[in-house]
Amino acid sequence: MSPVLSETGFVAVGAAADVPALEGRSVLVDGRRIAIFRLPDGWAATDAACPHRGGPLQDGIVADHCVTCPLHNRRFDLRTGRQDGGDDAVAVHEVFERDGMLWMRLA
C-alpha cells in the first residue's frame, strides 16, 4: 500500500526520477488512473483518460503548460484542466515532489 502523508490525504505514488522531463506517466490512485507530468517548473496531475475518447493523456506531447492527447489532438491546460478551443475539461489533481518522491491528492 502507498504510504499516506497523515492528515493531509496525500499519497506517495512513485519516484520523481521515473517521469522524464516534459513527459507523463500514469499511476492508479483509488481506482482512478492518473497522469503525472514533469513540467519545466514543477509537476502536474490530471485524470489519465481524455474526456473525448479516453486516450492516454500521459502519452501526449507536453509543452510548458499543456498536454495534447495522442489519439485526436485534444489539448488541455495542465493548470486548469480546460480544453484549448473546446468545451471539454479534465480533472486536475494536486501533486508535489519531496525527497525524490511524488505525492498526490485527488481533487
Binding site: 522524464p20 492508479l28 502519452d59 489532438n73
Partner: protein, 804 residues
C-alpha cells in the same frame, strides 16, 4: 432610438453566425446573444458531406472557436430554442425557462428537410441529410448494408450519394425528373453530369417516381417501389428532395408567413423589431435554399439593425458541387434565348453563358472545366454586358486572380470577396495561404477556392515566394527561420531551440517537426529528446484507439521466411494478441500489444523495426518480377529489397511509401507511391509523388533510366531532396504540386547536384538508427515502456537488466 438590451439571434446555423459577424463588424458594443437549438456552436453545414465521407468531426467544421465569441462578447446558448416573445415589451422566452431582454430579434431558424408523404417514410432506416446526427446514422447504417438509395438528384442528394459511395457503400440516386440538378443545369450539362457521377460509383436512376418505401418482415427498410412498377432493393434511404423553411416560431409570434417568413428589402418581417435571414426567410416571393445569399442578407440585416440604410435586392443563385472529381459551378440562369457554348464531348467539358438580348450576362454553367468561374460568377452578379460571349468565355478560361474585380466573391462558402482578401493580406502583412485562410476564412469552407487565395497572395507579394506555413505558429517561426537559427547558433536539440526563440513551448504541437528539422540539418550532432516526439516515436510502435500498440517488423520487399512466420504465430499465441493483420504494405501487423509488452514482443520476434509508426521511410512493396512472373521485365524483388535496405531508418517530412514493379502492369502499385520504380522494356522508370490514400494521384515520371542501379540512385537523390525541402507533414505529392516537377527534375537529375544529394543522403543514413527496437535491451529511460505502477513482471525484458 435603440435601448441597450441588444439583439437576440434565434438560430445558430450559418445564417445566425453570419448575422453575428456582420453586426459585430459594424457595432463592437451592442449586446448580442446567439441562441442555438443544436448542441453545437455554429458549424459549416455546407460541409456536412465531409462529415459523412471521411469522418471529419463536427468540431472540425466549427465556424469559429470559443474564444472568438468570448473576445467579441457574444453570448452563445446551445441546446436552447426561442419558444416565445413579447415583441412590444422586448422580452424573449427560451426553452430553458428563462426570459431575456432584447430590443430586436433576428430569426435565423433555417429549414428542415422536406420529406414527401410517402408510405414507409417513418420506417427505421429512412433518414434525411441535415445535421451531424443524420450523418452519424448514415455512417453507422451504411457499414452494414448492401445498398443505400438517395431520393433526390439535386445538389444535396448528389453530395450525400457521393459521400456514401466514397465510404464503400453501393449507392443509387433516384430522381423524379429526367435529369440531375434540373434547377441549376440545362439538359446537355445534366446529361454529362450523370455519367460523371456513375464514374464515381454512384448508380443514377432518372425519371423514377418513388411511390413507397417498402419494409422487410422486421419492419426495416427493404427497398423502394416506383410508379412504373419497378423496384430497388436497399436498406438505407436518404431523403434529399428539398427544404421546408422552419417557420414555427414565426407563426407563434404572429408574423406574416407564406412559404417562408415574409421580409421586406430591409429583411424586416411584419413586426418592425423582428428580422429574418437565411433559408427561413421569403424575400420578394423567393426562399433561397443555398448558402451564398445568406451572406448578402446578413450584411443588409446588420445595416438595418445598426440604423444604416440598406436594401436587399435578391441574390443571383450560385452553386458549386462539392464532389471530388466532378467540377461543377453554376450561376444565375441555366437557359435563355441567347446562349454561347464551348463544349468538348471527349474531354467531358461544358462551358456556357446565358445572355440577355442586350448582351447582359444572365447565367453561366461550367462543368468539367471551371477555369474563370469567379470572373463569370461576378459577371452574372453584376450584370456585365458583353458583345462577344465566346470571347468572354475564352477570356475567363485564361483569367488570373489579378483580373478579378474586387467585388468578385472568391469564397462562396463564407462569402468573402477578392477585395476583403487582398485588404487582409495588406493590413496584416500575411505571408502564407494558411494565415490568409485563418484570418479571412476564405477557403475555410469546402476549400475549393484555396488555389485562388494562394494566387492572390502571390500577386500581393509581387512574385516573392509564399512564406511556407509556420512550422511553429505559436512563435510565428517558419521552417526557414528556424533552420537559420539552427545553423547560426549551432542548435542541437529541441529544448535549445525553444530557449533560443520560443518555438515548441506554447502548445508543443510542432515539437516533432522541430525534432525532424534538427535531425535533418544536424545529422549526427543532433541530440534526441523523447519529449519532442509523438508517443509512437518514443516507444517505436503505433498507438491504437484503446491505448495499446501495433507492432510491424520490417519485412523487406514483402518477402518473409517460414521461420519468421512461425515466430509471428508464436508471439501472437504467447501474448494472446487479439489480431494478426496483413497490411497494405506487404507486412504483418500484430495488434493489441500493451506498452509494457513491447520490449518482450520485439525480443521474441527477433526482427528489426518496420518504422510503421513514424514519419519515416516505410515499406517498399514488390511484385515477384522476373523471379517468377511470366510477364516480368525486371527483378522487382531484388531491386525492392535493395532499395528498402538503402533507405530504412531514415526520418522524412512525412511518411514515404515505395514500390518496385517488374513491369507496367503495376501489380505492386508503384505508380501511386511516393517513390515507385517500374521496369519497362530496356530500362526502368522512376515515379515520384504518387498517392493512394486520402488523395489519389499517379506519380510524376521523374526519369527513365537504363539500369536498376541508376534508378536507385535517382530514387535516393529524390528522397534526400524531399527530406531537405519538404515541409513537415507535407507528403511528396503535396511537395510535387507545390514546387512542380520541373523544379524537382532540375534539383535531382543534374549530375553535380545529384552527387551532392547522394553524399548528404549517405551522411544522414549513417547517422540514423535502422532498428530502434534495440532499445528493448538499452532503454533511453528505465520507465521508457512503463507506467509509474507497471507490474514489475512486465518491466523491461531481462536483457535490459543483464546488460547494465
Amino acid at each position: 432610438m435603440f435601448s441597450t438590451h441588444g439583439i437576440l439571434v434565434a438560430g445558430g446555423g450559418i445564417a445566425g453566425q453570419a448575422v453575428c459577424e456582420a453586426v459585430r463588424a459594424r457595432d463592437p458594443h451592442v449586446a448580442l446573444t446567439l441562441v442555438c437549438a443544436e448542441a453545437h456552436k455554429p458549424y459549416d453545414r455546407v460541409r456536412l458531406g465531409a462529415l459523412l465521407a471521411d469522418g471529419t468531426s463536427v468540431e472540425d467544421l466549427r465556424l469559429r472557436p470559443d474564444e472568438w465569441y468570448a473576445d467579441r462578447q457574444i453570448t452563445v446558448l446551445t441546446s436552447t430554442r426561442v419558444v416565445g416573445a413579447d415583441l412590444d415589451a422586448g422580452t424573449v422566452a427560451l426553452s430553458d425557462g428563462t426570459v431575456r431582454h432584447a430590443d430586436r430579434v433576428v430569426l435565423c431558424t433555417g429549414s428542415d428537410a422536406f420529406v414527401p408523404p410517402l408510405p414507409g417514410r417513418e420506417l427505421p432506416g429512412v433518414v434525411v441529410f441535415r445535421d451531424p446526427a443524420d450523418c452519424a446514422a448514415m455512417v453507422a447504417r451504411s457499414a452494414q448494408i448492401e445498398r443505400a438509395a438517395v431520393i433526390g438528384g439535386g445538389l444535396l442528394g448528389l453530395e450525400a450519394a457521393h459521400a456514401l459511395a466514397a465510404r464503400g457503400c453501393a449507392t443509387s440516386v433516384v430522381h423524379l425528373v429526367d435529369r440531375l440538378m434540373e434547377r441549376q443545369l440545362d439538359a446537355p450539362a445534366a446529361a454529362m453530369l450523370a455519367p460523371a457521377m456513375e464514374g464515381l460509383g454512384v448508380d443514377v436512376r432518372l425519371s423514377h417516381a418513388t411511390q413507397e418505401i417498402a419494409a422487410d418482415p422486421d419492419g426495416r427498410v427493404a427497398g423502394l417501389l416506383f410508379s412504373d412498377g419497378t423496384s430497388l432493393a436497399c436498406q438505407l434511404v436518404v431523403v434529399a428532395v428539398g427544404i421546408r423553411p422552419q417557420v414555427g416560431l414565426a407563426r407563434t409570434l404572429g408574423l406574416a408567413v407564406e412559404r417562408g417568413i415574409v421580409v421586406d428589402d430591409r429583411l424586416t418581417t411584419s413586426h418592425p423589431r423582428v428580422l429574418a435571414v437565411g433559408e427561413c426567410a421569403q424575400h420578394r416571393g423567393t426562399v433561397h435554399g443555398i448558402v451564398a445569399p445568406i451572406h448578402d442578407q446578413a450584411l443588409v440585416a446588420a445595416r438595418t439593425l445598426t440604423g444604416a440604410d440598406a436594401a436587399y435586392a435578391g441574390s443571383i443563385p450560385t452553386a458549386k458541387l462539392k464532389v471530388m472529381g466532378v467540377d461543377l459551378v453554376t450561376a444565375g440562369a441555366a437557359e435563355g434565348e441567347r446562349e454561347v457554348l464551348a463544349a468538348d464531348a471527349t474531354a467531358q467539358t461544358y462551358r456556357k453563358l446565358v445572355l440577355g438580348a442586350d448582351g447582359t450576362v444572365l447565367g453561366a454553367v461550367l462543368l468539367g472545366d471551371i477555369r474563370g468561374a469567379e470572373l463569370l460568377m461576378d459577371a452574372v452578379r453584376t450584370g456585365t454586358t458583353t458583345e462577344d460571349g465566346l470571347a468572354l468565355l475564352a477570356e475567363a478560361s485564361q483569367a488570373t486572380a489579378a483580373e478579378l474585380p474586387d467585388t468578385a466573391q472568391v469564397c462562396n462558402c463564407n462569402g468573402v470577396c477578392k477585395g476583403a482578401i487582398v485588404g487582409a493580406i495588406r493590413e496584416g502583412g500575411l505571408g502564407s495561404t494558411q494565415e490568409v485562410v485563418r484570418v479571412t476564412r476564405a477557403g475555410a469552407g469546402c476549400g475549393s477556392c484555396k488555389p485562388i487565395v494562394s494566387e492572390l497572395l502571390a500577386l500581393e507579394r509581387a512574385g516573392a515566394a509564399e512564406e511556407p506555413a509556420y512550422l511553429c505558429p505559436c512563435a510565428r517561426q517558419t521552417r526557414e527561420q528556424l533552420a537559420a537559427i539552427v545553423r547560426d547558433e549551432d542548435v542541437r536539440s529541441v529544448s535549445a531551440l525553444g530557449e533560443a526563440c520560443g518555438a515548441g513551448r506554447a502548445c508543443g504541437a510542432c515539437k516533432p517537426g522541430l525534432s525532424y528539422l534538427l535531425e535533418e540539418r544536424q545529422a549526427g550532432r543532433f541530440r534526441q529528446e523523447r519529449h519532442a516526439k509523438f508517443i509512437n516515436d518514443r516507444v517505436h510502435a503505433n498507438i491504437q484507439h484503446d491505448g495499446t500498440f501495433s507492432v510491424v517488423p520490417r519485412i523487406r520487399g514483402g518477402v518473409v521466411t517460414a521461420d519468421e512466420l512461425r515466430r509471428f504465430a508464436d508471439v501472437a499465441d504467447k501474448y494472446e494478441l487479439p489480431m494478426i493483420k496483413i497490411t497494405g504494405g506487404q507486412r504483418i501487423d500484430l495488434l493489441g500489444v500493451t506498452k509494457e509488452q513491447l520490449p518482450a514482443v520485439w525480443e521474441d520476434l527477433g526482427m528489426p523495426s518496420g518504422y510503421a509508426y513514424s514519419k519515416a521511410v516505410r515499406t517498399v512493396k514488390t511484385c515477384v518480377g522476373t523471379q517468377f512472373c511470366r510477364f516480368g521485365l525486371g527483378d522487382a524483388i531484388t531491386v525492392g529489397i535493395d532499395l528498402e535496405e538503402a533507405m530504412e531508418g531514415l526520418h522524412t517530412p512525412h511518411k514515404v511509401k515505395s514500390a518496385v514493379a517488374g513491369c507496367p502492369r503495376n501489380c505492386s502499385e508503384a505508380y501511386v507511391k511516393d517513390i515507385g520504380l517500374v521496369a519497362v522494356e530496356g530500362g526502368w522508370e522512376v515515379y515520384v509523388g504518387g498517392a493512394s490514400g486520402a488523395t489519389i494521384r499517379k506519380g510524376d515520371l521523374l526519369a527513365t533510366v537504363a539500369t536498376a542501379a541508376e534508378g536507385k540512385r535517382v530514387a535516393l537523390a529524390f528522397l534526400q531532396h524531399y527530406r531537405e525541402e519538404g515541409d513537415h507533414l507535407e507528403r511528396t505529392y503535396g511537395y510535387l504540386e507545390r514546387v512542380g516537377l520541373d523544379a524537382v527534375q532540375a534539383a535531382v537529375l543534374d549530375p553535380e547536384r545529384m552527387a551532392a544529394l547522394l553524399e548528404r543522403f549517405a551522411i544522414a543514413r549513417a547517422a540514423c538508427d535502422p532498428d530502434p527496437w534495440r532499445e528493448r535491451s538499452a532503454p533511453v529511460h528505465p520507465k521508457q515502456f512503463a507506467e509509474l505502477d507497471s507490474d514489475a513482471a512486465l518491466d523491461l525484458v531481462a536483457p535490459a537488466e543483464a546488460t547494465r
